[in-house]
């Protein structure tokens, strides 16, 4: 009788062995995952809520020191900059002619090409300046004003290269055309007020 019980126990143990081994593996894996998660939490750098704000402040100062006063005012008041197309600038150098095409440069959004004369929206150019060099705590995106400055420098120095690298889409893929038209209206109003201010300043002298 005892021998039969022993034999049955051995058989039951042999049958249950794979299941027990599987459970033991799962338990070990869960334990190591928990440890890794705890270590990862400790590896996360201290979050400084003011860091991004300070970075953006520095970026704004750099942008301001590089662009034209009119462009800086545009960015400060409207949140975007208009950059005239390269061929337009060549034709307009030294003359007050309206550019055949221009770009609206938004922070961390596509560049929008349009016709200033008619307000016709032409296309969106999706372009990024990702810093993949590391050393930024996993961040790759520049502060908003640095992104605008990078686009401004690329467009004013080598428009063809940056446009070639961008992904071109019809307007409306990422930016709402209604919002763009509203921004063009805001820009026109802004320029009208600015011109009016300049006239009143000169007439009061």
């Amino acid at each position: 009788m005892l021998l039969a019980l022993l034999a049955l126990s051995l058989i039951a143990l042999a049958l249950a062995a794979p299941m027990l081994a599987r459970e033991a593996r799962r338990w070990r894996k869960q334990r190591s995952d928990r440890r890794a998660a705890a270590e990862n939490i400790l590896d996360v750098p201290f979050y400084d809520p003011g860091r991004e704000r300070r970075a953006e402040q520095r970026a704004r100062e750099l942008l301001r020191s590089c662009v034209n006063d009119e462009e800086w005012g545009m960015y400060r008041d409207l949140g975007f900059i208009r950059v005239e197309g390269r061929h337009a600038r060549r034709a307009a150098d030294g003359r007050k002619t309206r550019a055949p095409y221009a770009y609206l440069v938004y922070p961390n959004k596509p560049i929008v090409a349009y016709v200033p004369e008619t307000g016709q929206l032409l296309s969106e150019y999706c372009v990024e300046f990702p810093d993949l060099g590391g050393g930024s705590g996993g961040r790759t995106r520049l502060p908003a004003s640095d992104d605008v400055l990078a686009k401004w420098m690329a467009l004013t120095s080598d428009e063809a290269r940056v446009i070639r690298r961008a992904n071109m889409h019809l307007v409306g893929r990422q930016l709402d055309p209604a919002r763009l038209r509203r921004d063009l209206w805001r820009l026109a109003e802004w320029e009208r007020r600015r011109a009016g201010g300049a006239v009143s300043r000169s007439s009061s002298r």
Binding site: R51, E52, R54, A55, E56, Q57, R58, A59, L62, S65, C66, V67, N68, E71, R89, A92, D93, G94, P110, C126, V127, E128, F129, P130, D131, L132, G133, G135, S136, G137, R139, T140, R141, L142, P143, D146, L149, A150, W152, M153, A154, T156, S157, D158, R161, V162, R165, A166, N167
Partner: protein
């Protein structure tokens, strides 16, 4: 004196190097830093003023020798890619 600045996520611009291009030791350091930045995939630009229109614009710099004589700073920024 010229300063090399680099845009950096989470930082704003960083001062990489500065020096007098007329001083040999400084220039060697600047050349080395310029090459390192381009090797890391950066684009370099110098803010300038268009002699014709008087408007500010940028000049892309592909080689240290292209830096204009009177330039006060070179700004390095990540190269553009389709978003």
């Amino acid at each position: 004196m010229i300063r090399f600045l680099r845009m950096k996520p989470g930082h704003g611009e960083l001062l990489l190097a500065e020096g007098d291009r007329q001083v040999r030791e400084d220039e060697e350091r600047l050349v080395e830093e310029f090459r390192r930045q381009l090797d890391e995939g950066m684009w370099a630009a110098v803010p300038t003023v268009n002699s014709g229109s008087g408007r500010r614009e940028a000049q892309m710099i592909r080689d240290y020798g292209e830096i204009p004589a009177g330039a006060e700073r070179v700004i390095f920024f990540p190269r553009a890619s389709g978003g």
